[in-house]
Symmetry: C2
Subunit: 687 residues, 2 copies
């Protein structure tokens, strides 16, 4: 592993270097909110990392005691590289990439939406996102809306490589160190070092203080050595407050030589502006990556405000086009997209640009369109594992999880955040420490995104019995409207509509839910499909993926009694765990061992088994699954109301059941198990 | 886990209790050698351990921090149980079992034969074997023929549950403690505590010394707590030197109450002798298992000598039969087998006997026949893993090995004996420490069993070129005699004839060996055969086993050059490692990761991947594989002789190649790779 070494540049002082984006943001926070776009992504798996030198050819016949074998299967090199290495690798491979900037939301509700948007998106596969720093908004606090917490969420819960902006102007060394320590603790690995705006009109340089971004860069390197990747801002037209374009270039060089790893530029309107800037940078010895900041014009007023704040001048040819259509937002956006695409093409074609950074103005459509037209939006993202990987460095070895949280991965991440070790290779290797409690903070992130009124429409204003509950489950599965004409698009255990994979089982699921087998999780059996399969595939190409059929549901004790009789017939073939809210637990799992239900075989690697049914963690999941009946459903109704009592009854009396069909090469027998159960219940001797 | 607790019995003294077998052995070592049979076995996998209580049903909803999850897949409960637990489990399950006693050999050559016999046998599946203690033969030393080292070999190299006998008479406390410490260090877990014979005629009890077996039992419990399982000897007719049958029973009770776990009896001639003894034991409160010692009569003289030594009386009805046929060994043995079978049946039918201990007289045939006729010789042993598991307690988690030592498992065990951790679940999890050096001791155990003359006949008195070497390899594969009419039944890399599994590839192997692809290891691809498959199956039933095709061979640099060109076409599908004796290494393995080439999917468990192709350990294997050319083959010839120089040339210039076809569901492409290579070599442009 190369250690990134830097030559130390002499500490020179130079005046008036306000940092790019925070400069704007501090003056007009509300505007900047529009400057930055919420975006979502997930790790994509580049097919192979065969370019890594240590795998090539080695000589020497001794095996050494301290042989540093990578201790994980490393399905995707991405998970193990720092941002600057990813950038370098992409550049070496000739891959073009993009990144997206956004700002923290103003309300807790907006934060929930932001996070849910993170999940919906990500299909595009940005190399990273960045989160701006709002000195006015208590950016380092634990508020749900702080820059720090939003970046934390992006990294840990959404698996996004994230850069946290940080400004230093008017802050004490201790404050800054505190912020950085906290960022490190949360698993953030990248900082965009900015000056920020002086707070008064008559700003005076502080002796020994943090006056410029370069001071922050030096401070980070002094205090945290090489831990963080550092990004700094570049100004293609020179900073408006700089003495000259040349002086500004020298300031930039100083920041880079103080330890910055790459540069993101302020927006600009003509590709030649950036290309000249880049050549000028190279001419004075700046060799790190320089990423152009792209601003797709999306409206007349936002452009005018931006221009005023950034002191940039809009070229006459652009003004000529938009002035006549200034009241036609659609036309302006369409023009903006056109302009951005053409500019990006020119940049990419120059051969000097490998990545594009988008100021998305908080709007999805324009940026997505630009990226799609450029062909760098990933249409078919490859999954490195069947579940979304968290980007926390501590979790990078994690490659096994219990299946139970499949629809609630954020809850799993939250509840395992205190773990020191994550299971790697096998769940059994982890000592499986306790799962964290269900707390308010957790509930904030994981609570249903729909308001109460909407939930009542979906799940029933008034329940008349257990059958009304069966109906809700059935409507969720089928996608048909309920008796009041509303579609059930989420359930307490599933925030999102049915997964594509679950759709494979739709008909059978509908049938059993109607009869009171209230399914909350399932997967079909898969006997060696290519790892590139669009629905069930994951991992590098050239591999084969497998699954054992899985079915998890709530059901009544009457059905459980019959089910247990039926399961005797399927002993060895079907493993089961059956538990009620009190923790009474019936299982035929051998020795509390986990059962691998999803695995993959890949060229040149050990077997990856990312999903298991684990008897021990099932008891933690049970608490959560039962709690959701009350927290999310029963509490929609008045206390003592019949509807509430029905849900309470189910919570108190139903069992949570999971079934695994171990014979993955044969036809899934779990539907037959359920069929046999109902047959037994309906047989005359049983009546 | 139950802790085995004992009530302490008062220390009473009682005279003259010479221990059973060592009593005999010390007086007439040469005879006793015939009393004990060399036998071999390996762990067999009883289908499932579902009877274990902790997997049944548990309640309680908290997951606990110190949750003691078993950290291995536990394919076979056998590997994790102590002997007394295995005995108990077998008894609870109603399984009948047997065990076999043998004595250490007298010469190093006999030791090699003994060990190779260990490997050939084991199909029968004894619960344990025991090794007698020979005070006259320096039994605790490091000599290859000592009791200690033979027991060590049985446990570590042959994977046999083993009881080491130990006597205490005329030994100091320090000596005894030293022996026990050494036994523990070597991984021995079971001791048969015996008095041994006093050395002089006029033996006097030593004050504070070890006078009786009970003293040794107490000493073991005092010094080693519950570490060892302890066995003691019982005398169905009473010990010849005991005051009375009743007094002897009381002595036995004392040994048990001092901490013995079970009893093995002296031989006897009538089943009622044992059944009465057993009832008498129970009547005075002895509740531990009592295992009858069975002595199949195999010859007139051995019986007479035994009777003289043990002071047992042969019943008249037996004498009446054998006296008339005393010179007809075959007839006597036939009668002895008949008698033993009938006695064993009666014992087993009594319902009081669950296991039988055989004094095999060092002869295989009689005991095996008795066991087969009783139906307790395992005809089709199930393999817990595709390779034989070592019985050392430190290695019990081991469930992954590199494929390279597949034909030399003892070498692998020897060279990894210093490892503190064994890979469990994934090879990548082990830090893969250095492999031990190839030393003399190692060579003793692993050297070819055939004498030089025989090897020369097989491998050629005189080699005329590389082609003569190709011929030897080809004859080994085909089983056809070589040009001098001798069959090649072993090779330096393979002590045994071709494995059944390799036979599946015979035709292709023959073809490529003729052309100079000198194969030393291979396996076919398997796409989900039942784990009960007689040829490639392993692990518990109800599972599926898989393999990637593997081929390993020596070949010339010309062929390697062509092969590398051909392999470009198979990139991603075929992984390769190509190395010469100097360690020049060419591979396309990603990041030095291991490639799992054998794995199994079982009901209710995580995936087991017991065999990997590991790039790092391949370099250690390379040293061994190349060294065998010189140590075992070249050195058969005179220095400077042409034959020797041919082998030396191959050693110096050939490459060791391994190939894995990752596409296990498709037809093995490795033969096509070789075919393409020869085609390329023969193409006109190549000439």
């Amino acid at each position: 592993m190369l250690v990134h070494k830097r030559s130390k540049a002499p500490t020179s002082s130079w005046n008036r270097r306000p940092a790019l984006l925070s400069h704007i943001s501090c003056q007009l926070e509300s505007f900047l909110r529009a400057l930055t776009m919420v975006n979502e992504t997930q790790h994509t798996c580049s097919a192979s990392s065969s370019s890594r030198s240590d795998g090539g050819s080695s000589s020497g016949s001794e095996s050494s005691k301290d042989n540093s074998r990578c201790s994980t299967p490393v399905l995707d090199a991405d998970r193990h590289e720092r941002l600057r290495e990813k950038m370098r690798r992409r550049q070496d491979a000739g891959d073009k990439w993009f990144s997206l900037e956004f700002f923290p939301p103003r309300t807790a509700n907006a934060a929930v939406n932001l996070i849910s948007r993170f999940d919906r998106m990500g299909a595009g596969g940005p190399l990273f996102i960045d989160v701006t720093w709002h000195p006015a908004g208590d950016p380092g606090s634990d508020k749900e809306t702080s820059s720090m917490i939003i970046a934390n969420t992006a990294v840990n819960y959404c698996g996004l490589e994230t850069i946290l902006h940080m400004t230093c102007c008017n802050q004490t060394k201790d404050d800054i160190t505190g912020h950085l320590q906290k960022a490190k603790r949360l698993g953030l690995k990248n900082i965009m070092a900015l000056r920020g705006d002086p707070s008064g009109e008559e700003w005076e340089e502080e002796v020994e203080g943090f006056n410029y971004a370069v001071d922050l860069v030096k401070h980070i390197r002094n205090e945290f050595d090489d831990y963080f990747d550092i990004c700094v801002a570049g100004y293609p037209k020179g900073h408006p407050e700089a003495e000259s374009y040349e002086a500004d270039l020298r300031h930039l060089k100083e920041k880079v030589f103080a330890g910055a790893d790459f540069i993101i530029t302020q927006l600009f309107f003509r590709p030649e502006t950036f290309l000249k800037f880049m050549k000028d940078c190279q001419a004075i010895g700046i060799t790190c990556p320089i990423i152009p900041g792209i601003f797709p014009i999306q409206g007349y007023h936002s452009l005018r405000q931006l221009v005023k704040l950034s002191k940039l001048e809009v070229p006459q040819e652009i003004k000529d086009v938009i002035e006549p259509i200034k009241d036609n937002d659609a036309a302006i956006r369409s023009y903006g997209v056109e302009l951005a695409v053409s500019m990006c093409r020119e940049l990419l074609d120059s051969g000097m640009v490998h990545g594009l950074h988008f100021y998305t103005l908080n709007r999805e459509v324009a940026t997505t369109e630009v990226l799609k037209r450029l062909g760098i939006w990933k249409e078919d993202p490859r999954r490195p594992l069947p579940w979304a990987v968290s980007a926390h460095p501590k979790r990078r070895v994690e490659d096994v999880r219990p299946i139970f949280w499949a629809s609630r991965p954020k809850s799993y991440i939250y509840r395992t955040q205190e773990w020191d070790d994550f299971p790697n290779g096998r769940w059994g290797n982890s000592s499986s420490p306790a799962f964290g409690e269900l707390k308010d903070y957790y509930l904030f992130y994981l609570k249903s995104k729909s308001p109460r009124e909407e939930l009542l429409k979906m799940w029933g204003e008034e329940l008349t019995g257990e059958e009304s509950v069966f109906e809700v489950f059935t409507c969720y599965i089928t996608g048909e409207p309920n008796r009041n004409g509303y579609k059930v698009t989420c359930m307490p255990w599933n925030d999102d509509p049915l997964a594509t994979e679950t759709n494979l089982l739709k008909d059978q699921l509908e049938k059993v839910n109607r009869r009171g087998i209230l399914t909350i999780n399932s997967q079909p059996n898969i006997n060696g499909k290519p790892s590139t399969d669009p629905i069930v595939g994951w991992g590098p190409s050239g591999g084969y993926v497998f699954q054992k059929a899985y079915l998890e549901f709530f059901t009544s004790s009457e059905i459980v009694t019959a089910l247990l009789k039926v399961l005797k017939k399927y002993e060895l073939r079907v493993n089961y765990h059956i538990v009620n809210v009190k923790g009474q637990n019936i299982t035929n799992a051998p020795d509390l061992q986990p059962n691998a239900v999803t695995w993959g075989i890949f060229p040149g690697r050990e077997i990856i088994q990312p999903t298991v049914v684990d008897p021990v963690s099932f008891l933690s999941w049970k608490d959560e699954a039962f709690a959701l009946w009350i927290e999310q459903w029963a509490k929609l109704y008045e206390e003592e109301s019949p509807s509430r009592m029905i849900i309470q009854y189910i919570h108190d009396n139903y069992y949570l059941v999971n079934l695994v069909d171990n014979d993955f090469p044969l036809e899934n027998c779990l539907w037959q198990v359920v069929e046999d159960t109902f047959e037994l219940l309906n047989s005359p001797t049983q009546q």
